[in-house]
Point group: C2
Chain length 483, copies 2
């Protein structure tokens, strides 16, 4: 029964092993699929990720994005239209080249690594006038990237599940407004619903999306002090609009190239952060709104009467809109409790002979790890109350993650020490244009960390010199290790 | 403004042109994507198909199917495990063979044309004991088939959107129960929710799914007398379980191979039937439950006061859970009415100066094409009433499709005449085992029609001879033209 003993690694001490065990034991994904870098997502993660999609899509639609389903394949000729895109993505592309009994296709097709070159070709057919703008779209899709780095389930796979939004605007100002809207969406969904704290950085020149004029990305902090890049939003160079001829007629009938933005929240990667940020030594802890199931009724030494009672309770709770699982397996009481705590279900209802006779129920909350006995007739009221306060509580706990995690370094040594201590290090820096790349490379080499970028709402002013090269500082950057 | 004149072809007289116009003018899909056989699904179809997915998945989950996301690619070695599967599907496979700058992959990967050979490899790892059975799964996914027949949007594309269920059972009897459950699911969802009438046939030996022992498929009838195959469910041969080693230990600890079933409702293809079955000469007619939007407020000669009023009405209806669109475009009243009728939105609310002053609203129902004036304060009550009776009405109209469409043929001439008249022809037949294939070929050649199979609940008894070959008849078959 070793497998059912729960998680044996400690999250803070052996994060990597903890992560591996949680994914396997809570049955989130099976890595034994026989194509390297591709995994099978199992029901316990799929049910949660479907809810994550639902919340995100609702917010996007409310903000005027319309849903599309584009083909999974992109012809090579589209792919070659924009120079920096070719350079940035070609190494990662999977190519479909033949069909049937090895008959070659007329043209090689890329499995989309991202869909700029599919969308903008159609944008050129759909957008005619200034009245069509802003033209706001999105699609739910899988993308494929031939990763050369080591893959890890959810964090980095060769196929992942995401949303990509693509929008065309009349002016650069309108496009930048969209970038701000994307950042607000990230706050509304990733933080307020999924419960993930993050910081948005403008990436330095050398770390932008291929073809972007400006790139902004959300970094989530892990307990081991590394950050995970989550959604990024990009103001693209007009080279895309020009390559695909995406233009509109203004009020005077003059042809103007649009400004395009795109935004890419990768649901299956964000799920990794849900595991990591909320989980503890016992396993997963799902926020209520994205829990695969919200409640389990753990029946202690099941018999017919108890099973019947459990089904009645389930029915009652489902009528109120809650999702409920019943566990009448042969496992011992302790095993059942451990199992469902590991699976991260928010509430466990405990029902045995004693409870049945006393018309009571045990209620265990995963967020506080507290148990109480309630009168059976208080059940719905109690669950409703828990459901309303659960996520607030979990988010407050998560927000603590960033507390005391940011330190300021005054010199090179300060950077190395801060990074070694698992912090995000803030310091004065020469420049995030390509002239600053040498200093970034020093950091990479000496501290195995990366310049994540600058904060748009940075309040601190520069007043000295770059901590690395000593030249006049023009900006404040944040440095961290990353996945 | 030619494009906005609505549909010019008549559905009954020029079905093919009608279908093409509806897809283009109602903006369901754009066929100008530059890979042959791949199309872009636009918001008006995606919003509806998302609802179709939601209803189907809810029913599947209620019946104990758990959701998975499998990789899009299947390694060639899996694909080659089951002989009839290789033979049946290889001609249709797209192969991923290289990555990056033309570097060959270690192994060719198939873009899944269907996922038996992906699921069952994992089944062999997941299923251990009789207690694990039935093991019921499904996934929402795209599939890819290199079709050689002419493609048509929704009906036949090289990439389509479907659900596939895969289930393993302890006995053949349990597996057949699953097949019946799949047929019941089809009735509950395709008929009762999407409003599509169909007949389930057991396909003859020569028309089974590659690797199936028995294949059952739903045929939907089109107004031109052709049928479209919609979901099919299959009792697979044990060759799959044997090829992938999917077995379980029974109560005595003996290893037994499972019996596997699969079921494949193709949402994007079923959407074609939604267009075809419910549409009329003015365009689309969506059932309420799967309408992209349920209500449009058509503002007549919009001004600030009317726009404000429309927004208030929208808000009120949205609070009640309805989805609402506002049209304050510069189009004329007539254009607006035609446009939204073509788009198939169930209810149009008409709001102009007159209505505003009288505190009245015009209500137009797309199912009955009837208009009424109501007091503004009656709005929510009226809409609720319509929403409750709308689909019943649409389904009754659709059910008429099969009325008088089935005729019995006594001889070869009767078959040809019935088929020419756009009917489904029923007749006595020698056998649906491979010995009957010659007779089926005669029908194909002489009537350009196909033996669709036998009905499981057939009440009529055979009492004579095969209408084609004259030998003793053993079964009643149904014959139709098809897409």
């Amino acid at each position: 029964m070793a497998e059912e003993q729960g998680i044996t690694a400690k999250k803070e001490q052996n994060f990597s092993e903890w992560y591996t065990q949680v994914i396997q034991k809570a049955e989130l994904a099976d890595i034994r699929y026989n194509v390297k870098g591709f995994i099978v997502f199992q029901p316990w993660s799929v049910l949660s990720m479907e809810k994550m999609y639902k919340h995100l899509e609702k917010v996007l639609q409310k903000k005027g994005h319309n849903p599309y389903w584009f083909p999974t394949v992109i012809p090579e000729r589209n792919f070659k239209m924009e120079a920096s895109h070719i350079e940035g993505f070609t190494p990662e592309v999977f190519w479909v080249t033949s069909h049937g009994d090895n008959d070659p296709l007329e043209e090689k097709l890329a499995l989309r690594p991202t869909s700029e070159t599919a969308f903008y070709q159609m944008f050129s057919l759909w957008i005619r006038s200034h009245k069509d703008l802003p033209f706001k779209t999105y699609q739910r899709a899988q993308v494929f990237r031939y990763e050369t780095k080591a893959t890890r389930p959810f964090l980095r796979s060769r196929e992942f599940h995401w949303i990509e939004t693509h929008c065309a605007h009349a002016t650069k100002e309108d496009a930048m407004k969209q970038v701000y809207e994307d950042m607000a969406t990230t706050q509304e969904v990733l933080h307020d619903i999924y419960g993930l704290p993050f910081m948005f950085f403008e990436r330095p020149e050398w770390d932008k999306f291929p073809g972007a004029e400006r790139t902004f990305a959300a970094d989530v902090l892990n307990p081991d002090g590394r950050v995970v890049q989550q959604p990024s939003t990009h103001l693209l160079k007009q080279s895309f609009a020009k390559a695909f001829n995406v233009k509109y007629k203004d009020k005077e009938g003059k042809d103007i190239f649009t400004w395009i933005t795109c935004y890419g929240p990768a649901i299956s990667r964000i799920f990794a952060s849900v595991i990591i940020v909320h989980g503890d030594d016992k396993g997963l802890r799902f926020p209520w709104k994205i829990a695969p199931k919200e409640i389990v009724i753990a029946v202690i030494r099941p018999n017919e009467a108890l099973t019947k009672k459990a089904e009645k309770i389930k029915e009652k709770l489902e009528e109120e809109g809650f999702s409920v699982e019943i566990d009448i397996s042969e496992k011992s009481m302790g095993e059942k409790f451990y199992f469902w705590e590991m699976k991260g279900i928010p509430v466990r209802i405990e029902l045995g002979e004693k409870e049945l006779n006393e018309k009571k129920l045990g209620i265990f909350r995963r967020d506080t790890a507290k148990k109480e006995k309630i009168d059976e007739k208080e059940l719905v009221k109690t669950i409703k109350k828990i459901s309303q306060e659960y996520d607030k509580n979990l988010i407050e706990q998560a927000d603590q993650l960033f507390k005391n995690k940011i330190i300021t370094a005054k010199d090179k040594k300060g950077i190395k020490q801060g990074i070694e201590a698992g912090k995000i290090v803030k310091c004065e820096f020469c420049t995030t244009s390509n002239h600053g790349k040498n200093c970034a490379e020093w950091i990479e080499k000496e501290a195995q960390a990366f310049v994540r970028g600058t904060k748009l709402d940075e309040t601190e002013k520069t007043k000295g010199s770059c901590v690395i090269c000593g030249k006049k500082s023009t900006t404040i950057v944040y440095i961290a290790r990353s996945y």
